[in-house]
C-alpha cells in the first residue's frame, strides 16, 4: 500500500532541527521524498506499523504534526504529477 506522509516540525526552538532531520530520515528509510516535507511510502502493514511507531516517538506532539494519507494498493490512478522532479517508480524497470 502507499502512504503519503507529510509533517510539520517546529524548528524555532532548540532540538527542533534535530527532530526535523530525524523525521525526514525515518521517512527516507521507507520511501521517497517527493517534496520538502512530503514522502511517498510503499509498505506492507508490518512495515507501516514500524515506521509509524518510529515517527511518533520522534516528534514532540505539542508543536509538531504528522499527517498520513492512505492511498491503498491501487494508488496509481489516484496520483498525478505536474512539473519538475517527478517521483521514481520503484516498480518500473530499474536500469541505471
Amino acid at each position: 500500500m502507499l502512504v503519503l506522509v507529510t509533517y510539520d516540525v517546529r524548528t524555532s526552538e532548540p532540538g527542533g532541527a534535530k527532530r526535523l532531520r530525524r523525521v525526514a530520515k525515518a521517512c527516507q528509510d521507507f520511501g521517497q521524498r517527493v517534496q520538502y516535507s512530503v514522502f511517498e511510502i510503499e509498505v506492507d502493514p508490518a512495515q507501516w506499523t514500524a515506521l509509524r511507531a518510529r515517527l511518533e516517538a520522534l516528534i514532540d506532539p505539542k508543536c509538531d504534526s504528522l499527517r498520513y494519507y492512505f492511498l491503498g494498493a491501487n494508488w496509481r490512478r489516484r496520483v498525478e504529477h505536474v512539473g519538475a522532479k517527478p517521483a521514481a517508480d520503484f516498480d518500473a524497470p530499474l536500469i541505471i
Binding site: Q28, D29, F30, Q32, V43, A88, F90, L94, I95, I96
Partner: protein, 344 residues
C-alpha cells in the same frame, strides 16, 4: 502471495553503489542517479566495473537481497550471499532425493518439452499462414515429434539417462526449427542452431543473455525457499554449477526467454545494429541494446499468468519462486509429486 520485488540493474560503467540509512543509492560520476529503499528490492545485478561499498554488501546480505556481479557481456562473475538460509532437514531431503531423481526429472523434462511444443504451436497458430510451406511442415513435424516424446516421457518407467536423452532429443528438434520462427525481414538476424560460449549469431546472443538473467532468478528462488542451488536432479553435480537453478529453469526457458527473444526481434525492437561481432566470431549485444532487453525482461516478468497447479494468478516473474516452493513441498513429503510448470 509474495510480492514481486524489483531488481536493480546497474549497467553504467563506473557507477558506485552505497548504503544510506535503509536506502540503496546509485551514483554515477559523483551524481546521485537513483535511490530506493531496501524493502522494495529483491536483487541487484551489476554489469562490468561497478563499485559496491562494504556497508552496502553487508546490508544486502543481512536482508537477503542477492547481489550478482556480471562482466560487461553479462557473463556471471560473482555473487554475494548472506548466511545459508532455510532448513537443514529440507536440504537433507533434497540430497537424498537427488540420489533417486527419476520422478522429479520426469516432471522437469515433461514440463520443458510441453512448453517447447507450446511455443512452436503458438507460432503455427499465429503466423502459420504466412510461413513458407517447407518451414511450416518442418515445424508441424517437430510439434508432432515433441508430442510423441512428451507421451513417452510421461509413461516411461524412469531411467534417468533415458529421460535426459529425451530432453536432448527434444532440444535438438526444437532448436532445429526455432530459426523458422524468426519473422524479422532482416536477413542478418539468423539462428543456426544453438551455440554458446561464445554465441555465434544474434539470436544465440540474445538467448544466452536472457538465460543468464533467468538462471540468476532461479538461483535466488532456490535460495529463498531454503534449497541448495548446487544440488540438482536433471543436471548432475559439478563444482560451481548451480544445478538446481538450471533444473528449475528448464521448464521456464521456452515461455520466459525464447518467446521474449522472438518478440524482440520480430517486433524489430532489437535489430542487427544492436549486436557487435568480436574477432573470435562471438556475437554479443552492445551496451545500449542491453538496456532495451533488460526493460523488456522486467516487463515480461510483470505479466500475469494463471498458475496451472496452484490455480492462482501470479506474475510470470514469480514462476521460479513458486516452482521452487512446490519442489520444497514435494521434498518434504507434502506433495506426492513435483508438478511441472506449464506456461504458454
Amino acid at each position: 502471495m509474495k510480492k514481486l520485488l524489483n531488481t536493480v540493474y546497474v549497467t553504467s560503467e563506473g557507477a558506485a553503489l552505497s548504503k544510506d540509512g535503509e536506502n540503496l543509492v546509485v551514483q554515477v560520476e559523483g551524481e546521485e542517479r537513483a535511490r530506493a529503499p531496501f524493502h522494495m528490492i529483491a536483487s541487484v545485478v551489476a554489469f562490468g566495473a561497478v563499485l559496491l561499498t562494504p556497508p552496502l554488501l553487508q546490508a544486502c546480505a543481512a536482508r537477503g537481497i542477492t547481489v550478482v556481479l556480471l562482466d560487461r557481456n553479462g557473463r556471471f562473475q560473482a555473487r554475494v550471499e548472506g548466511p545459508t538460509s532455510g532448513n537443514v532437514l529440507l536440504r537433507r531431503q533434497q540430497y537424498r532425493a537427488s540420489e533417486r531423481p527419476e520422478a522429479i526429472v520426469r516432471s522437469l523434462v515433461a514440463g520443458k518439452v510441453a512448453n517447447q511444443r507450446a511455443v512452436l504451436q503458438r507460432a503455427l497458430r499465429d503466423y502459420g499462414e504466412e510461413t513458407q510451406i517447407s518451414a511450416k511442415t518442418a515445424i508441424e513435424a517437430a510439434v508432432a515429434r515433441l508430442g510423441g516424446i512428451l507421451r513417452s516421457v510421461q509413461i516411461s518407467t524412469s531411467d534417468v539417462n533415458a529421460l535426459r536423452g529425451a530432453e536432448g532429443e527434444a532440444a535438438q528438434l526444437y532448436f532445429g526449427v526455432f530459426g523458422h520462427l524468426i519473422r524479422s525481414p532482416d536477413p542478418a538476424i539468423v539462428f543456426r542452431g544453438r551455440s554458446r560460449r561464445p554465441p555465434l549469431d544474434p539470436m544465440n546472443a540474445l538467448l544466452s543473455f536472457l538465460y543468464t538473467l533467468l538462471t540468476h532468478d532461479c538461483r535466488s528462488a532456490a535460495e529463498t525457499v531454503g534449497l541448495d542451488p548446487a544440488v540438482g536432479f536433471l543436471h548432475r553435480d559439478r563444482p560451481g554449477r548451480p544445478s538446481l537453478a538450471l533444473d528449475l529453469m528448464e521448464e521456464m526457458r521456452p515461455a520466459l526467454v525464447d518467446r521474449l527473444a522472438l518478440s524482440l526481434v520480430n517486433r524489430r525492437q532489437i535489430r542487427i545494429q544492436d549486436f557487435r561481432m568480436e574477432d573470435n566470431g562471438a556475437v554479443l549485444l552492445n551496451d545500449e541494446s542491453r538496456k532495451t532487453v533488460l526493460s523488456a525482461w522486467q516487463e515480461r516478468k510483470k505479466t500475469e499468468r494463471r498458475h496451472p497447479f496452484l490455480d492462482e494468478t501470479a506474475p510470470l516473474g514469480l514462476a521460479p519462486f513458486l516452482q521452487a516452493q512446490l519442489l520444497a513441498r514435494h521434498l518434504r513429503g507434502d506433495l506426492d509429486a513435483y508438478p511441472p510448470w506449464f506456461g504458454k
